[in-house]
């Protein structure tokens, strides 16, 4: 008996609006707090942050950012890299987060997604899970194909709401005390 469902069942499939992906070289673990503190001071929201254990023991960082603040964040990251003697970070524009759930601690779900995309000749820019969902980072130009493939290869409930976000949450430039 196979433990892997040929068509994995998911309860939901969602995608973000357009974002940018900032990726660093390895050895950024010690520099990340400084960069994040500066981004927080500038009230920059980060829909995804990963400090990834990679080939080396030290971390390699991936951040997703709104396009409007991406250049500013990239500039900060480049200056931090220069100050700490690290390799230059790179910015990838026009990316989207595609999220599906529930994860249920099932490694088969991210594995199935990678296999489905690979069969179609698509490679995501990265993958991470929260405790409840799988998140793929994909190029915006691959979004439609990615959603089609996942909807085709995964068992989705009838009448599911569309994956595109219909509401954006925008943070005020002032805090409650200032209002």
């Amino acid at each position: 008996m196979s433990a892997v469902n040929p068509q994995p069942t998911i309860a939901g499939l969602k995608c973000s609006h357009e974002l940018c992906l900032l990726e660093t070289t390895p050895d950024w673990a010690a520099t990340l707090p400084e960069l994040l503190a500066e981004l927080a001071r500038r009230r920059v929201n980060l829909p995804l942050v990963l400090d990834l254990p990679c080939k080396a023991a030290a971390g390699r960082v991936a951040l997703c950012l709104e396009p409007a603040v991406a250049e500013e964040a990239w500039d900060l990251a480049r200056r931090a890299a220069e100050a700490h003697g690290l390799g230059a970070p790179r910015l990838i524009r026009q990316v989207v987060l595609v999220q599906f759930f529930p994860l249920s601690q099932d490694l088969g779900l991210p594995a199935a997604a990678l296999a489905s995309l690979a069969r179609a000749g698509l490679t995501p820019l990265g993958l991470a899970t929260s405790l409840s969902a799988v998140v793929l980072v994909v190029r915006q130009e691959h979004l439609a194909a990615t959603l089609d493939i996942l909807a085709r290869d995964f068992d989705l409930p009838e009448g599911l709401s569309p994956p595109e976000a219909r509401m954006a949450v925008v943070q005020s430039s002032r805090t409650r005390e200032e209002v």
Binding site: L32, A57, A128, V170
Partner: protein, 159 residues
């Protein structure tokens, strides 16, 4: 449609601030084809290893994968990785995981920075972290978990 949000509570409210012990962090590497082979490698493994967190990211042509799971799931996972052709980057490391979940983590700035600031105060550095949509998790050396949890509780409240 656009909703304007203002978040200013101190400490930051969460749905939960939880620690899980007895975990292990496995890091491996391989080609994209090896990651794809995980699917077939899992076939016939019943029950499949239960993995709490997975991340996979490319570095040039090589993909790094990191997996966090309960220690008793390790033998099954190592067998799956080997069949898929993924090599371990280093020996599996015992870890504890601290997890915080929203509300609104995906919509507000400064969450990860606040967590790292709390940890800095007690000179604890996570071995890895991820803030994905509404949740934040951090991996620590097991002995550092109590100190890390206490420090995070200064900045984040849970019901």
């Amino acid at each position: 449609m656009e909703t304007v949000a203002i978040y200013s509570e101190r400490p930051i409210k969460t749905y939960g601030l939880k620690v899980e012990h007895g975990l292990v962090l496995v890091t491996g590497q391989g080609r994209l084809a090896d990651l794809v082979a995980l699917q077939s490698s899992l076939a016939g493994v019943d029950p499949p290893p239960r993995v709490i967190h997975t991340s996979a990211w490319p570095e040039d042509d090589t993909w790094s994968i990191s997996l966090c799971l309960a220690h008793d799931q390790l033998p099954a996972l190592l067998a799956v990785l080997e069949r898929a052709g993924l090599e371990l980057s280093r020996e599996p490391v015992p870890v504890g995981l601290i997890h915080l979940q929203g509300p609104h983590f995906g919509d507000r700035y400064g969450i990860v920075s606040q967590a790292l600031e709390g940890l800095r105060q007690v000179a604890v550095a996570p071995l890895g972290l991820g803030a994905v949509v509404h949740s934040l998790f951090m991996l620590f050396e097991p002995a550092q978990c109590p100190t890390a949890l206490e420090a995070l509780a200064e900045y984040f409240s849970s019901p």
